[in-house]
């Protein structure tokens, strides 16, 4: 008996139409053969035969019936092209947006990093060694004796002037320990990587160049190996070329084994060492973390920050690279999933309405013996086909979304470019399409399957009370999802507008900026030659027509990623405060449009004086009491000037790290012949128009000095706000689309119910009710699902609010105002749709209706 039961189960593999006709004979034959099979061996042979038979016969039947159902669906689509196009567009937007966001998640978190055994690679942010980091011998000895890391490399990155065969270029270099490439498992494309002892002083003047640099500088010529390149003026021999797509870390173009020999490449500014490791094989993550924590605890007291944000960490390299984009992608993924659900609810509603149109066809088919399973199968085929077509169209949306994401938030590695042409992303789209197809098709399919054959043509249950309830429930779902998306969008937009309105501490408009670097040039002496060059360059910039004022800084707001900080005190007080150390040229604050609150800023005469002077920002001055009293006091601290500096002014806080980060204490001094300097120029009119003239003016001093990062300050702010703007725009798009879908859904349901209740309406009108009174009544009734949806939506929006913080800082702190608007807009729009949907009541001809009945 168990055999028969199992065979019946296997018969489900056949499509419904075939099963309907032949399940009986098939089962009968199986019974006959089962009865004839005597021993266990024969029974086993019977099962093998049966399995082979199923494998051979089920697929052709599936294809045949799918073809029949698909042709039927296409005929129906042709009959209602507008409905079909709308359904496909709704689903395409949902599936496409989800696939686009998934391509980011896939690239950053699922696709393996392009290194050997990438899952064992770790980053050790804020890690300090217990040994002397200056000596390669001690570093290598420490790394060989680690009990949790099989290998560790250290590196620091910076931008340098690169002089090679042709012109000089500005590129990113990573100075590493010799084991960097072997740790990552990166093999050379040409030549060789660093030898084990090449990171010792005297042997380290060798470099590996990136594939891109090899192409641009040497045109892919193999003779590049052995060539000499100049890095900030220092000669290096090219020994190898990294493989295409290898640009770790931070899009590096050039690697040298000079991390223990900082003077090899002359540079100014701070050096930030980073550590990269590979876990010992066989060690689990918790074990590795425990060993790491033990090592951190052994570090000298006081060398570890007590603030948890600044404590050393052991992080998977992939997580560290994904950074803040990781959580933001998950939040966006959730939002697009909500849109997809809205689209599903909408299309389900559309299909339910179509069942009414098709009631006659369904009744005939039912009467001719089509089983419930056959009708369900046909509806599911239709819905899966619909979502498959939508997924095809959605790939255009997905490719577009991936393109925008690449522009707004490029992946940290070239090998992680977001693309939809990846098997995981395509698989995601296929699965999403299938699940979506079943999700919105199942309800209409069950209702269609519920129609019963009867001598008279009957309406399927989709048009009855159950159908109405289902459609109202779907409306409630749509309204709830729309309220959630709309609220999130309002909050994000609010937070974004707040960011736009933030006082950055300077005037963004009409400001041109560009950077020059003297590294490796004849002016690179940290002294009079450099100063003479800068003075001349500034004079030429000031003579450009339309110039208001020009100055310079070593760290430009929004541009600098790494700063130097130190502890400073006023008047020799014992407790100081940590502040950024920012060298600027005279007239910097006037040019930037920053307000000097007390005292004055640096003047030209100060540059010639030998007295150390300082300007501090409000946040710094406030730490030492009334900011107005800071002027004239003496600043001591890091060994920066050698002696105390007189504070000459207090300026408004400048947001150096962008509008999202609050200003921290800042100390300014006059810049003295640095290696690189960013020139800022305030002009009359559009700064964009003047950029070329300013660049040419600087080049005219000496064309061999590279001028780069030529941008207006507005462009820099736009870039800094690129991500929040993208999130706000994406959410506005998602919520707008959801609202449109909800409106169409509500309108569809109400006009459908008017059609359904024509008879009742006709009688009521005949008995003297006015159309307006009837419409009000219908409005009241249709508002019930809208109200239910709204209350669920509000609860959902409250719950979703805290995740918005991960997209834009301050998004969850918005008050009740956006909430009220976010809820009232969908409700008002739904009411308008209902009112419009009932307008045909006024046009109904009572006599025709009553006579027809």
């Amino acid at each position: 008996m168990r055999s028969i039961w199992l065979y019946r189960l296997l018969l489900k593999l056949y499509p419904a139409g075939f099963r309907e006709n032949y399940a009986g004979p098939l089962e009968r034959e199986f019974r006959d053969e089962r009865a004839e099979a005597g021993g266990a061996a024969e029974l086993a042979r019977l099962w093998v035969r049966t399995a082979v038979d199923l494998l051979l016969s089920a697929p052709p039947q599936m294809i045949r019936e799918f073809g029949e159902d698909a042709r039927h669906a296409l005929r129906l689509w042709r009959r209602r092209p507008a409905h079909t196009v709308f359904a496909i567009a709704a689903l395409a937007a949902g599936i496409g947006a989800s696939t686009g966001v998934f391509s980011v998640v896939d690239a950053l978190l699922i696709r393996s990093l392009p290194f050997r055994e990438p899952e064992r690679l770790v980053s050790l942010p804020l890690f300090r060694l217990a040994v002397d980091v200056e000596s390669p011998a001690q570093f290598h000895s420490w790394r060989r004796h680690s009990n949790y890391l099989a290998d560790t490399a250290r590196y620091n990155t910076s931008e340098v002037n690169l002089g090679a065969v042709r012109e000089s270029a500005r590129v990113r270099i990573t100075e590493t320990s010799a084991n960097f490439f072997s740790l990552l498992g990166c093999r050379p494309w040409r030549g060789r990587m660093f030898a084990a002892d090449e990171d010792t002083v005297g042997r380290d003047a060798v470099a590996v160049i990136g594939y891109g640099l090899w192409q641009t500088l040497f045109g892919g010529d193999p003779s590049a190996l052995g060539a000499t390149i100049r890095v900030n003026g220092a000669p290096f021999t090219v020994i190898g070329v990294a493989p295409p797509g290898f640009d770790y870390p931070q899009r590096t173009a050039l690697w040298s084994p000079t991390t223990f020999d900082w003077r090899r490449i002359p540079k100014s500014g701070g050096i930030f060492l980073e550590f990269l490791g590979r876990l010992r094989s066989g060690l689990s993550w918790p074990q590795a973390r425990e060993a790491f924590e033990a090592e951190v605890r052994r570090l000298p007291q006081g060398s570890i920050d007590t603030d948890p944000a600044n404590r050393p960490k052991l992080t998977p390299l992939q997580d560290q690279l994904a950074g803040p984009v990781k959580k933001a992608s998950f939040v966006l993924m959730g939002c697009v999933a909500l849109l997809l659900l809205t689209a599903c609810a909408n299309v389900a509603n559309l299909l339910l309405a179509r069942i009414v149109d098709r009631s006659e066809e369904l009744s005939i088919r039912s009467a001719l013996g089509a089983s419930r399973a056959r009708l369900v199968q046909q509806f599911l085929t239709e819905s899966v086909l619909l979502s498959a077509v939508a997924a095809g169209a959605g790939m255009i949306v997905a490719a577009w979304a991936a393109k925008i994401a690449n522009a707004v938030q490029p992946a940290p590695l070239a090998g992680q470019k977001y693309t939809v042409l990846d098997w995981r992303v395509l698989g995601f789209a296929v699965i999403t399409a299938l699940v979506t197809g079943v999700a919105f098709g199942i309800l209409p399919a069950l209702y269609a399957g519920g129609s019963k054959a009867s001598p008279m043509f009957v309406r399927p249950s989709g048009s009855g009370r159950g159908g109405t309830r289902a459609r109202h429930a779907l409306i409630a779902v749509q309204i709830a999802l729309t309220v959630i998306l709309f609220t999130c969008s309002m909050r994000l937009s609010g937070a974004f507008l707040a960011l736009m309105g933030v006082d950055n501490g300077y005037q963004v408009r009409n400001l041109a900026t560009l950077t020059v670097s003297l590294a490796g040039t004849e002016y690179d002496d940290n002294g009079s030659r450099a100063m003479a060059y800068y003075e001349q360059a500034l004079r030429r910039v000031q003579s450009v027509p339309g110039m208001v004022s020009a100055s310079a800084t070593e760290y430009l707001p929004l541009d600098a990623q790494k700063f130097i900080g130190g502890e400073f005190r006023l008047d020799g007080r014992s407790s100081g405060t940590i502040a950024l150390m920012l060298p600027v040229a005279p007239g910097f604050f006037a040019t930037m449009g920053s307000r000097v609150l007390y005292g004055r800023e640096f003047e030209d005469a100060d540059a010639r004086s030998t007295e150390p002077l300082a300007v501090v920002n409000e946040a710094f001055a406030r730490r030492f009491g009334d900011p107005g009293r800071a002027v004239g006091r003496y600043l001591t601290g890091e060994d920066w000037w050698g002696k105390a500096s007189r504070v000459v002014g207090v300026v408004r806080d400048i947001r150096y790290m962008g509008p999202t980060a609050n200003a921290i204490p800042q100390v300014f001094r006059l810049t003295r012949a640095p290696q690189h300097l960013t020139i800022v120029a305030r002009v009359r009119g559009d700064a964009r128009q003047r950029l070329a003239a300013i660049r040419d003016a600087i080049r005219s001093v000496d064309s061999r000095v590279p001028v780069f990062n030529v941008k207006t300050m507005s462009e820099r702010l736009d870039e800094a706000l690129g991500r929040p703007r993208f999130y706000a725009t994406a959410m506005a798009f998602l919520s707008g689309f959801a609202l449109l879908l909800a409106v169409v859904g509500v309108y569809g349901v109400i006009s459908w119910s008017v059609l359904q209740r024509r008879r009742e309406i006709g009688i009521r009108l005949a008995l003297g009710t006015t159309p307006v009174r009837l419409r009000r009544r219908l409005l009241g009734r249709a508002m019930i699902p809208v109200a239910c949806g709204t209350s669920v939506g509000i609860a959902g929006a409250v719950a979703a609010g805290r995740f918005l913080q991960l997209l834009i800082e301050g998004a969850s702190a918005s008050g009740p105002d956006p909430f009220v608007i976010a809820v009232s807009v969908p409700v008002a729009v739904a009411m308008a749709a209902i009112w419009l949907g009932t307008c045909r009541i006024a046009r109904l001809d009572i006599t025709t209706i009553v006579r027809a009945e």
């Binding site: 056949y14 075939f18 006709n21 032949y22 004979p25 098939l26 009968r28 034959e29 199986f30 006959d32 035969r49 049966t50 082979v52 038979d53 199923l54 051979l56 016969s57 089920a58 052709p60 039947q61 045949r64 029949e68």
Partner: protein, 121 residues
Amino acid sequence: MRIKDYPDPEDLLPLAPAVFHILLCLGEGERHGYALKREIARRTDGRLKLGPGVLYGSISKMLEQGLIEESDERPDPHLDDERRRYYRLTGFGRKVAQAEAARMRELVRLAAANFGKAARA
């Protein structure tokens, strides 16, 4: 089920072996599925054993193509109360079977001519 109109029997050639055997069996009279299966196995000395899925898959397709049709259900004389579905050849099915036989005859003639030449060489 939609019955397609095939004006020319040649359109369906060559036939799958199972289909041709079913046509040949039904040429001798009406049969139900199980009888067809046993008969084909007997005629081919057990070389062609059709599984029930393949058999009814072929039958379903042949019905659709108009090669065969169902006759009334009746009890199998060997199995008292079991009602079985019987199938019979249509006029079109007979023409298709004849066309397939002619095609095979032509093939056999060609093969004989070729092997004859090879033998002489």
